[in-house]
Amino acid sequence: MAKSEAVQPHYPLEGRLGGSAFVSVSPGEPASRLALRARPEALASLSKALGVKLPEKPKTSTRATAVKAKGRRAAWIGPDEWLVIDENGADLLAACDGVDGVFSAVDVSNRNTAIIVSGAGAEATISAGCPQNLSMDVFPVGACSRTLLGKTEIILLREAEDVFRVEVWRSFSAYAFAFLADSGRSPMM
């Protein structure tokens, strides 16, 4: 093998599909991810560098508006913590290089994997294992939260009324997927 020829990746949930007439449970596309921690003074410059405004309101997320950052979003996870996701696999760590201010940017692209839960029964399917209130008035489109699904931690993002993105650590993804497939058999809507 020539040194420059990169080997092929293997994704954790490759080939899986779950759900029922009410809900579809499927692996998300590969994406790049950044675990971002920052002092308030660094937010403006980081937002600019990343092309997406880092939300300051708890449990909300923002999407990039700039064309160059399309498919990128930032989710508020904690008072000084964000998860930035780029569906086009951009190098988010490099984007933060040289930004002024005190912050920590760590590449976690491969730590997490995504499960997309969609359909009329999506909310009910997740509510089988997630104790949070996921109704639209409390957890609207764009809402996000680090929470629980059964016995595992997840980050939950609502992408549309009936589409959720479940971000879960790689080795817990088989469990999370199986849980959603099981609760999706007959979600009580």
Binding site: K3, V7, P9, H10, R37, R111, S171, F179
Partner: protein, 997 residues
């Protein structure tokens, strides 16, 4: 025909819709909507079970959740067999198999019934006293017999094939109970704009309206109104209506658990439907509308089949269209039973007599009875009954005795009054209050945002109850921000009250008698037993309960608690509240394990974590071991190899050629920020300031008390970025430990911690040929000893993929740990393997890793340490920075006890016979000839056969061990005593030259 006792035109079931089921092998026909109890009574079957202790013949007592007697086994198939199902709750479905319990060989002829004859010997407290002596007989004789007799029903012996579901739901208002009050409250709250969940344990909403046919709402029959209202609610977007759903637990902050029986009533349930669904509801407000439960009369032989609560008889008639007998007797202490008698008489059932222990029944009762031609005996009591498997007669006497008359009956209905269902209120930690006027416990002080309405709140009149319900619904909606007004007014009329009646034993079962007047049917507790408990010195109801087991059966004393309390209070000559009321605890009714566990079975019992290379290891025959939730490759046996042979080969191969090992499970934490080094200085005993980017260091982390908490290699990636590794099992707690200190002790530091355990797959390549294996695959990193010596970490590429390449060694060999993004773990592993295999290397597992590190004396935290071992004890003083002013554990390490010379220290042990492998955990002593207990010096922490050393090796924690080098100690085992020599902990390559390869 769906039973000889079905009354044409009565009830709400459809005569044409029949289903067939079996009870103890006999085939019966029922109607769709029947419960097992109503179907059996319709078919003239009253003998439904045997009591727990005396094996007395028992029939159905109630028609709902309170049932203590009619418990049965329900079976779909061998795997789906449920014991102790209440026949009054279980709906009949086509093909259902029901079996009676606690009888042998048959329900009608039961050998255990001999206990009834022996009952003088089985008084309360019998078990506590009788089996005290002789002591030796307990284990071999008494306990096995008692265990054999204990328990009701037979559990299934195959895995349950049903599945169970769970659902969290949040709402503004949860209404528990779907009777007239619950429905009214739900409607009011919903119309006010609140999100509402209403649940009821019955198949249909309506509660008492199922039997109470004298009630009208808006000029509509009560039960019809209930059906329409339930439908109206179900049609509203902000309401969820749950039938067959029991609220069984009320926890803090209005968290209420409900169990929904989804398929138990279906003949052929959809395979995707769960059998039960656990609802975990978080409600801003809870409205408790749980009604009241009727009490039985406590008199001699009040437990024969055919004797039941008046509300049950009325439910069987008015809802199921079933007459409970053809010649019915009535025994009552309040007015409720009259209504049942009137309803029965009106459909043509003979009512032999109403026996009323009161002198003056309620207004109008006597005249209605006279109009219907029913004899009423006021001031009389039923003092005994006759009949073997069903009641045949009741003995009626004047209160105080005299004028005994035996009246033939085939059913006897009774009512001592109603007990408000304060279970949910009490579970919410509300305090019940004694209402002296009505002699009832009612909701007193509330502990949570909930309210009780209607009968469970002691409200008498129907219109008053409905008004109270609407007000509660509107108030709850307003309290959670509802803006609309419900503008709801429901005109209600009819229905009886809930107060009145008696508690305690009836005439003829008083303190001067020895009759069996049952208080608690399921546990066979009689009035006499409760008096005995008081005589034996039990003066608190909590003690009486435990001595007699009153209220401790699966029905939790729904019919018996108040009677028991009244009898105890009477025996103590005190008021009931002075004796106390036992605490109500969840669950309200029994809940299946399936419902509680719900999705958490099989692969969902617990997450099983697998590394990116797991599939490769599986394909290459790895045997796995569980390390916390991880599956780790333990060893890779070749054909014909056992574990021992495989590990010996792997150990040899690593030191002679090389080995490849999956170290992905190592915990990894990225420590980033300008104060990263300062923070690590505080968390580890070592100093980090001088570590250069690209280099790494072995670090020890202590707890505040100075004992070793974790260890691992830490690499400095950049000035402000460290890559910390932890033990596999320690990853989550080490991150929490560090985060805890960062947030509470060192919040001034600009540094953050991010778990990267799963970002990186880690491939350890160890052995003399390690560099040769990876060199052609690596780009941008100079692997020479000069550029990349032992304990360095550089970034570059491997197989075209970014890597953090560590030159570290847990084997004592020259070696690398290749960190690559997890998606590429398997591909890079395969590329490395493709080079490694032809060079004579092997894949090795955790067992070989353990042996190799022990050969070098490297500790494993948690194996060679146990939370009481300091760095000095473990021989790691070199890893403590002497010049640092502070770090976690520094003060702990100064404690006199932690610097004492005779502490247990980690040393090596060599057995005198090189082939003997010590047992880990074995004790070490100086003199094996001492009498037991010997003075123990310590214990073996690690012990292996070392193929590389050609002998066994071991490490041990031994008191003052380092001063005992060369001495002989002993390891006493059950069959022999093993001689060992105390040595250093390094057994292989003592000078440590091989790492520099």
């Amino acid at each position: 025909m769906s039973g000889a006792n079905r009354i044409a035109g009565a009830g709400r079931l459809t005569p044409a819709k029949t289903v067939r089921f079996t009870f103890d092998g006999e085939i019966y026909t029922a109607l769709e909507g029947d419960t097992l109890a109503s179907a059996l009574v319709a078919n003239g079957v009253h003998l439904m079970g045997r009591s727990f202790k005396y094996h007395r013949a028992r029939g159905v007592l109630g028609a709902g959740a309170e049932e203590p007697n009619a418990l049965m086994g329900i079976e779909r198939d061998r795997a789906r067999r449920q014991p102790n199902v209440r026949a009054t709750v279980q709906e009949v479905f086509e093909g259902m198999k029901a079996t009676s319990q606690n009888r042998w060989p048959s329900l009608a002829f039961d050998i255990g019934a001999v206990n009834n004859l022996m009952s003088p010997f089985f008084a309360a407290g019998f078990y506590y006293k009788t089996f005290m002596w002789p002591k030796a007989a307990w284990q071999k004789l008494y306990e096995p017999i008692i265990r054999g007799a204990a328990g009701l029903g037979v559990s299934p012996d195959e895995a349950d094939t049903d599945h169970y579901a769970s659902r969290y739901v949040h709402c503004d208002v949860l209404v528990i109970g779907g009777g007239v009050c619950g429905l009214s409250a739900a409607l009011a709250a919903a119309k006010s704009g609140a999100s509402v969940v209403i649940c009821d344990e019955q198949a249909q909403m309506g509660g008492a309206l199922a039997y109470e046919n004298g009630v009208t709402l808006y000029d509509e029959a009560g039960f019809d109104w209930a059906g329409k209202t339930a439908a109206e609610l179900a049609g509203m977007d902000n309401v969820r209506v749950l039938t067959r759903t029991t609220a069984f637990g009320y926890y803090v902050q209005n968290f209420v658990a409900l169990s929904e029986r989804v398929t138990d009533h279906l003949a052929e349930p959809d395979a995707d439907l769960p059998r039960e669904r656990l609802w975990q509801v978080r409600a801003k407000r809870v409205i408790i509308a749980t009604g009241a439960i009727e009490r039985h009369m406590v008199f001699a032989n009040n437990d024969r089949p055919g004797i039941m609560l008046s509300s049950a008889a009325r439910t069987f008639l008015n809802h199921y269209g079933v007459a409970v007998g053809t010649k019915v007797g009535v025994y009552t202490a309040n007015d409720s039973a009259y209504e049942t008698a009137f309803d029965l008489k009106r459909v043509g059932v003979s009512v032999e007599a109403i026996v009323d222990c009161r002198d003056n029944p309620g207004e109008g009762k006597l005249s209605t009875a006279a109009d219907l031609g029913i004899t009423v005996k006021t001031g009389h009591s039923v003092t005994n009954t006759k009949g073997a498997r069903r009641i045949t007669a009741m003995v009626v006497e004047r209160n105080g005795g005299g004028g005994a008359k035996t009246i033939a009956v085939d059913a006897l209905i009774m009512s001592a009054g109603w007990t408000p269902s304060v279970h949910m209120f009490s579970q919410s930690r509300g305090k019940v209050a004694w209402d002296a006027d009505t002699q009832r416990f009612l909701p007193g002080d509330y502990a949570q945002d909930c309210v009780s309405i209607g009968a469970c709140n002691g409200t008498e009149d129907l219109q008053a109850s409905v008004d109270e319900a609407i007000a509660a619904g509107e108030f709850a909606a307003k309290a959670v921000g509802g803006k609309r007004a419900a503008n709801l007014k429901i005109a209600a009329s009819g229905g009886g009250g809930w107060s009145g009646g008696v508690a305690g034993s009836a005439d003829g079962a008083g303190p001067d008698t020895t009759v069996k007047a049952f208080v608690d049917f399921q546990n066979d507790v009689t009035a006499k037993d409760i008096r005995l408990a008081v005589r034996e010195g039990m003066h608190s109801i909590e003690h009486v309960k435990r001595f007699t087991t009153n209220g401790m059966a699966s029905d939790q004393g729904k019919t018996s608690n108040i009677h028991g309390l009244a009898i105890a209070a009477d025996a103590l000559s005190r008021e009931m509240p002075a004796v106390g009321l036992t605490t109500f605890r969840p669950p309200y009714t029994p809940v299946t394990f399936g419902s509680i566990v719900n999705h958490g079975r099989g692969q969902l019992f617990d997450p099983t974590r697998k590394t990116p290379m797991h599939g490769w290891a599986e394909e290459h025959g790895a045997v796995f071991e569980d390390v916390s939730q991880w599956k780790r490759a333990w060893y890779f046996p070749r054909i014909g190899e056992d574990m021992h042979a495989a590990v010996n080969r792997e150990c040899k191969t690593v030191r002679e050629a090389a080995g490849v090992f999956d170290a992905s499970t190592l915990g990894k934490i990225e420590v980033v920020g300008p104060d990263a080094a300062a923070f690590l200085d505080l968390m580890y005993t070592n100093g980090w300031g001088k570590l250069k980017p690209g280099r790494c260091k072995y670090g020890i982390m202590l707890r505040e008390d100075g004992f070793i908490y974790d260890d691992g290699v830490v690499a400095r990636i950049a000035e402000d970025r460290f890559h910390v590794t932890t033990t596999t099992g320690g990853a989550p707690r080490v991150l929490h430990h560090m985060e805890d200190y960062l947030q509470t002790e060192f919040p001034h530091l600009d540094v953050w911690l991010t778990s990267t355990s799963e970002q990186w797959a880690v491939i350890a390549v160890q052995g003399p040929k390690a560099r040769e294996i990876i060199e052609p695959l690596v780009e941008d990193i100079d692997l020479s000893n000069e550029a990349m010596p032992h304990m360095s970490a550089l970034e570059g590429k491997i197989c075209g993929v970014p890597t953090r390449l560590f030159r570290v060694s847990f084997t004592g060999e020259a070696g690398y740990e290749v960190n690559v993004p997890a998606d590429f773990g398997r591909a890079v592993w395969e590329a490395i393997w493709e080079r490694a295999e032809p060079l004579g290397a092997c894949a090795y597992g955790t067992e070989t890793m353990h042996v190799l590190r022990a050969e070098k004396g490297f500790i494993i935290v948690g194996q060679d340490t146990d939370g009481t071992v300091t760095p000095q004890d473990a021989g790691l003083s070199w890893a403590i920075a002497k010049s640092k002013p502070d770090y976690v554990g520094i003060r702990g390490l100064m404690r006199p006890d932690l610097v004492a010379d005779d502490r247990k220290q980690l040393v090596g042990l060599k057995t005198k016979d090189a082939n003997t492998v010590l047992e880990e955990g074995a004790q070490v002593v100086a003199d094996p000839n001492q009498p037991i207990p010997m003075k123990m010096l310590g214990h073996v922490t690690s012990s292996y056969w070392s193929e590389n050393c050609g002998r066994s090796i071991a490490m041990a924690l031994v008191a003052g061990g380092r001063a005992k080098m060369g001495e002989t100690l002993y390891v006493p085992m059950p069959d022999r005593t093993i001689e060992v020599e105390v040595t250093g902990t390094v057994f292989f390559d003592e000078k440590g030259e091989r790492v520099n390869g």
